[in-house]
Amino acid sequence: MIPNSEKLKAGDEVLFSGTIYTARDQAHKRLAKAIANKKKLPINLKGAIIYYCGPTATPKGKVIGSCGPTTSSRMDEFTPLLLKAGLKAMIGKGSRAAEVSRAIKKYKGVYFLTYAGCGALLSKYVKRAKLVAYPDLGPEAIYKLEVKYFPLIVGIDSKGRSIYEK
């Protein structure tokens, strides 16, 4: 959960500590299909934070490998549905479609950016990683990450305002 997420404004910098779930293209496709077919989801989306990330393999002795954000706009077509199903926040890189901004406003969500192309640096903020769904997708599986002081910048706030439209 994000405390006081509705007070955040586009451009604000946040250090987040808590739970986030990785999911990217194929996991989104499956989640959307499960929602459409009213099937049980492998993760509880209520209040959840999804990180658009497919990490590398985990080197020996590390919690996780390199794990930076992937391009968010590829997930745009699934995002309104996921927000409707309870998703609270997303972490990624780059701009989003207008319908995503509208959905964020409607469901009072928030879209964060994090350091793009800095997967080695970001791995230092991940304290635990556990595979929780879709292992057949390899790096595109859903991982549950416990992060500490993970650096975020508010990209789109709960009023639908975007950092890129100033």
Partner: protein, 279 residues
Amino acid sequence: MRIISADKIRKAVSDLCIKANLILREDALFALKQAATKETNKKAKKILRAIIDNASIAESEKLAICQDTGMPVVFLEIGQDVKITGNLIQAINRGVESGYAKGYLRSSIVKDPLFRGKPGYTPAVVHRDIVEGSKLKITVFPKGFGCENKTQLKMFKPVANIAEIKKFIIDAVKAAGPDACPPYVVGVGIGGTADYACLLAKKALLRKIQKGLSPKGALPELERELLSEINKLGIGPMGLGGKTTALGVNIETYPTHIAGMPVCLNISCHALRSATVIL
């Protein structure tokens, strides 16, 4: 005839995959450090410093610079007096598999582009050039797809002027916007056929940024003009503003047909990675 064994090639490719993915290219790191010094936008400066920190963490902790360890693209310059014993392409793919596994890199390649499937490490895309001599030059270029997805090709009329070409290139960078990890390195291929212009654009990214240029001539001048105009776009690192939208513009040209002028633009994110060895 000089003999090079496929096994030697496999080992070389394995090492190059690890080196390319863990150690940021020297020219890219230099350009980033220069940009961080010159940048006046506070947010942009902070992001550039994070990118430089990331490169140093990657190298010291043996982590991939970026989790997208790319589609492995391998360039071969095969001397015509070299005889390779064994299966060359198989050796390259086995080298990629071993390097990617040893380096804890990511499985990002699906066997079927339409029906996808579980990702693995191979096959690589292999470009072969036959050149004079008895050496074999191997370059591994892991190409991330955030930036590869922003590639653009346009078949201009033969009477097109430089201003139109420049507009196409600048518009393509604008279209990439904040998505593909700016500051970018912009590779441009002009001439040949459509496919060849795309290959040139990718090859342009293998040339050292900025530093490799001769100070004179129309082409280096065009590269400098484009770089300066791109950096006036204000996209900046992560698309959050500043004067560092691109670190360099590299253009490669080739003769073309009287009826056309193919132009392809292939962008690299700030994590410009490649490694080369000569056997």
